[in-house]
């Protein structure tokens, strides 16, 4: 399964991914023209500061499987693209009820009018995995923009294997130090958000050697 993988310790907080994402999802796909578009194009990736100085995390839809958002969407506006294993939204079906956002473990869904077509009303916007770009053999826009290697695109297990050797010592330390923090996924939708928060915090801490 190919995916966008995050190396949080490499994120310098430059927010180039946000910019590239907004441009990719604009009508013109041109940075000079995109800033003058109405509605303004919106990024679907959000770089959030970490708890420690100069740490940050580029947060985006993880395309979960099973996807809690898909499970709760009352209009079946959220579906899975089987070929690329991506969770996709259908703006035409979206009623902006925000159920998806309420259960999203990563708060990755935002509500705006789409700049690159779709109904002239606020709908759920989230990462579409740059489906068009990857179908054309290009990396996702955020990955292309990331010059520090915080965002990489590739086969999930290969990327993990790369990191495994590199971070073995950190992982061993964290496994001992953070036994109490449960990262087992919850059995019910209700628990997804809390689980996401725990997982994110743990992840951030692991990568900065604080667990």
């Amino acid at each position: 399964m190919k995916t966008i993988f995050v190396n949080p310790e490499r994120c310098v907080g430059c927010r180039q991914c946000e910019f590239a994402c907004a441009v990719e999802h604009s009508a013109s796909r041109d940075p000079a023209q995109a800033v003058f578009e109405s509605p303004p194009p919106r990024s679907r990736i959000h770089v959030m500061p970490g708890r420690w100085y100069n740490t940050s995390f580029p947060n985006r839809c993880r395309h979960c499987n099973p996807a809690p958002c898909q499970q709760v969407c009352p209009t079946a506006a959220i579906t899975r693209d089987a070929e690329h294993d991506l969770v996709m939204t259908d703006a035409g079906k979206c009623i902006a009820c925000a159920m998806c956002a309420m259960v999203c473990p990563f708060d990755a869904v935002t509500f705006h009018e789409a700049a690159n077509g779709g109904p002239a009303r606020v709908v759920a916007l989230k990462c579409d995995g740059c489906l068009e770009r990857i179908a054309a053999g290009q990396p996702p826009a955020c990955v292309e923009a990331c010059k520090s290697g915080a965002l990489v695109y590739g086969e999930l297990n290969e990327l993990i294997a790369e990191g495994r050797a590199r971070e073995a010592s950190v992982v061993l330390t964290s496994a001992v130090a953070s036994q109490s923090a449960s990262t087992r996924p919850p059995d019910h939708v209700l628990g997804w958000r809390a689980w996401g928060t725990t997982a994110t915090e743990l992840n951030e801490g692991v990568h900065h050697g604080r667990h």
Binding site: Q16, E18, F19, A32, V35, P40, E144
Partner: protein, 638 residues
Amino acid sequence: MAGTENVSQLSSCNDARAMIVRAKEEGIETVWDRLAAQEPQCGYCSLGVSCRNCSMGPCRVDPFGEGPQKGVCGADADIIVARNLGRTIAAGAAAHSDHGRDILEVFGELAEGATSGYELRDKVKLEALAEEWGIEVEGRDSQEIALELADAMMEDFGSRKTCLGFSDRLPHERRELWAKLGITPRGIDRESVEMLHRTHMGVDNDYVNTLLHGLRTSLSDGWGGSMVATELSDVMFGTPKPNTSKINLGTLRAECVNIALHGHNPLLSDVIMQAAEDQELVALAKEKGAEGINLVGLCCTGNELQMRTGIPMAGNHLMQELVILTGALDAMVVDYQCIMPAVTDVAKCFHTEVISTADKAKFTGATHISFDPHRGYEIGKQIVRKGIEAYTNRNPERVRIPEGTVEMMAGFSVEAILGALGGTPEPLVEAIKAGKIRGAVGVVGCNNPKVQQDLGHVTLTKRLIENDILVLVTGCSAVANGKAGLMMPAAAEMAGPGLKEVCESLGIPPVLHMGSCVDNTRILTLAAALANYLGTDIDKLPLAGAAPEWYSEKAVSIGAYVVASGIYTVLGVQPAIFGSPNVVNLLAAGLEDVVGAKFAVEADPEKAALLIRRHIETKREGLGLPFVEAAKIAAEAA
């Protein structure tokens, strides 16, 4: 190497394409590879909305409105964009003006008799300048005059003046306008320093006020530092006269020691030229197996040499790495400005010796030979000797010089143009009035790897001359148009019927080489002379400027002083201002009501030509001259 797959898209020149292919084959990195690696470039910086002027920051404004709209200090996109643009102009003006100061200092020392290798070659110009600056000429010798002129010009760099010495060249209306707006440049250094002050956190927090000072800063360059550089270079090295020489990488000669002179300042290259003719050194070159010493120019140092002495031109900005890739360049002697740090990396792949000469411009990997005007000739010889030594390391099997050269005519100083016209602008004015020449456009500026090399310059120039618009070129644009064959009298064939007739009667090309990039001041001087002759202001004239492939901070300063002088200017590469719609509106519209001219940004040279033609016809209408409805030209585009 990434980014060189489609070589024909990178450059429109065959000599460049051949060398890019070689770089690809041999795995040698060039500017196009580095651009590809940088893409996509920082969006915030591209739009000008990032600020790192203080350590409460760095900050950036989200141009899409979702994230922060103000920096930590409270600066919004307007202030941040204006600060950045202001500093860019200040850096560009500083570069030109420091170049001017270097010339002036040597000029002053020459007047004191303390230099070696320099002389006052154009005493007529010296006296004309002295009279312009109110210096007594009668009964005094040249050195005395030069000394007093040097002192007077030094004063222009400081802060004791209220206006610059060259401002008398301007039409009265323009001077009044600048005074009213508070943008009369007072001192050459002062305006750049004040811009750095204003853009410090918490000083000038009004973007309009900052940008007005940006115009003043640029004027301190155009009517100050650059003009000093141009005029004194003429006095010391000779005022250019039309001459024909050769251009492109084919000017390198496999059988000779090849030395390229790269950068901007003619101070050093002039003495190297003398040294290359030194019998002892020529004999040494022959002893080492070469037939002689072949000097070629690159960038504006090349322009300075070509227009005065006909030394052949190897190429413009994007050729600086490629000239080394011929394998036939023995030494690249650099002074300053626009010299990529990468040249020493490319040189490591060959035998080429990179020799830096300015103490303010050193390069890791280069041999530094500190230039000292007191021992100019001696140092010139030392450098040429170094080139001959490097020649002995050349591997003939790696020599691949693209074949063929193109002829071009250079050296159209204002004096030369007026000379060709019989000493008065009247024939030019009459040709414009009659509509044989619709107007004149300065197509200037750099190369930028974001634009297919030379395509912007050449396409725009061709469209303009086809429509009877006289084109004046400097810098990289001069090289581009020279390579395209547009700068020989025979190119009149490519001009419209009116321009063709004028060119043929005067024996001049339709595209006139006016020099290096500091020599854009020649265009200002000519424009002012035309306005004065007609008793009007510059902004009323059918003139325009264009920088289709600009890249440097100096180009921003040039664009600003051209607009502030009243000349509409079209940029082919987007400046970093689009994060502030207010700044864009001011520069692309509002300025028209302030200084009578504005900027436009148009990446497509075909469309830029239409914009300029419409503008010129509008100005013709304003002067009561025969004109074509601007709307008709617009319709042609649709």
